[in-house]
Amino acid sequence: MQAFEYARPSTVQEAVSLLGNSWEDANLLAGGTDLLSLMKDYIHTPKRLVSLKGIKELEGIRKSAGGLRIGALVTLEELLRNPDVRKEYPSLAAAARGVASPQMRNMGTVGGDLCQRPRCWYFRLGFGLLAKGPNGESLVPSGDNRYHAIFNNRGPAYFVSASSFGPPLVALGATVNLVSPSGTRELPVEKFFVAPATENARENVLAPNEILTEILVPPAAGVRNATYEVRQKMALDYPLATASVALRMRGNTVASARIVLGHVAPVPWRAQAAEKALTGKTLNAAAIEEAAKAAVQGATPLSMNGYKVQLASVAVKRALEEAAQART
């Protein structure tokens, strides 16, 4: 690992002032579960690490009439144990439970989860986020793409968004606050994630001198929500495909629906055809089946990941079935 300087500020303002204008100047350190391995492999080589762990204002989960406020430093374990989360936001609890090792949940933070880098093996092996080969073409379409995108994968990005909290937060209509020297901006989580168009762009809109300080989730009253993750094995690993749903109900009828797929595209992927298929319908087996089919319409799998189309469809079906059982 390249040597670095270590700073431990106690306020967000101080932390922001320790960051630089490039990712090479400084990186933020939360739980370190992703960052440290990137640094060991020389994928990130910042001159300075700015630890967030001493900043009290980034801690804590608070429920109010306006919804749920989750500090960026809240660990996955804290989130999972929070009674309000368990009761009203089962889709977030399921995402936390899916990160299946207690060590990872004790150390990993929700802010770090949203800001973690993709797991694309070309990226992790040093080929860059766009996995370019010697001639500047992407290695993914003709390479081993079994875990890559099946939507929004016409290049230049082929990786999938790794964050387990991205899809449920997009489904729930959550926002994030980002603080930089020029002030604070509040942004829907859906707009936080982007598919990079150039090698220098990233998979989210964070600037090198910006901190994600908190996540704001709208009240869940009347919103049935669930997350279903399909995995190759039960042990600690990323899911292959996931679905998060949030349904606003009018009696037994779906008044509005948000259905978001994970691990299928460079961003959490809104399945708008499925949302449309479900809206105005009675939430029953036939409607669920139809939405699950609609969710994967238009998928463009690569040479090795056609299997994901079926997994994503099943994930939507199971998530909707769970939401149908839920009472809110």
Binding site: M1, Q2, A3, F4, E5, Y6, R8, L29, G32, T33, L36, S37, M39, K40, L49, S51, K53, A100, S101, P102, Q103, M104, N106, M107, M234, A235, L236
Partner: protein, 157 residues
């Protein structure tokens, strides 16, 4: 260089080190506590697990600077007065190790698991040890050892 002061197995320690070194390296190389193992170095195997303020933590991806003022328990800190900790005793009685490389991490994780849940079901044991790999594939005996540890710990308290 920075001075890091922290408590290891009940003793106050002070180490001069560069900030980029992981806790694992400081424990093994500076303090000679080689019971904590290096498996993958990237948070995937659990071999380097220690208890940080009582919580299982991967020391390979914890910068040493993050433990300033905190309490670390390693496998060397479990036995008291020449007597094995009930979890260690249970691992011995069940022969729950082959090469033994994963054992310190498994034992420390089990200590914290039983503190929270003194009578885990097999499902809870498997879920609780999910972050640990055993390359010798001794999982059956490890689960049996945790079951036995729950009994031994129950008798002791």
């Amino acid at each position: 260089m920075a001075t890091i002061k922290f408590t290891v197995n009940g003793t106050a320690r002070s180490v001069e080190t560069e900030p980029e070194r992981p806790l694992l390296e400081v424990l093994r190389e500076d303090l000679g506590l080689t019971g904590t193992k290096y498996g993958c170095g990237e948070g995937q195997c659990g071999a380097c697990t220690v208890l940080l303020d009582g919580r299982p933590t991967l020391s390979c991806i914890t910068p040493a600077r993050e433990v300033q003022g905190r309490k670390v328990t390693t496998i060397e800190g479990l036995a008291a007065n020449g007597k094995l900790h009930p979890v260690q005793q249970a691992f011995v009685e069940e022969s729950a190790m082959q090469c033994g490389y994963c054992t310190p991490g498994m034992v420390l994780r089990t200590v914290s698991l039983l503190e929270r849940n003194p009578n885990p079901t097999d499902g809870e044991i498997i879920e609780g040890l999910n972050g640990h790999l055993c390359r010798c594939n001794g999982y059956h005996r490890i689960v049996a050892a945790v079951r036995r540890a729950a009994v031994l710990a129950g008798k002791q308290s």
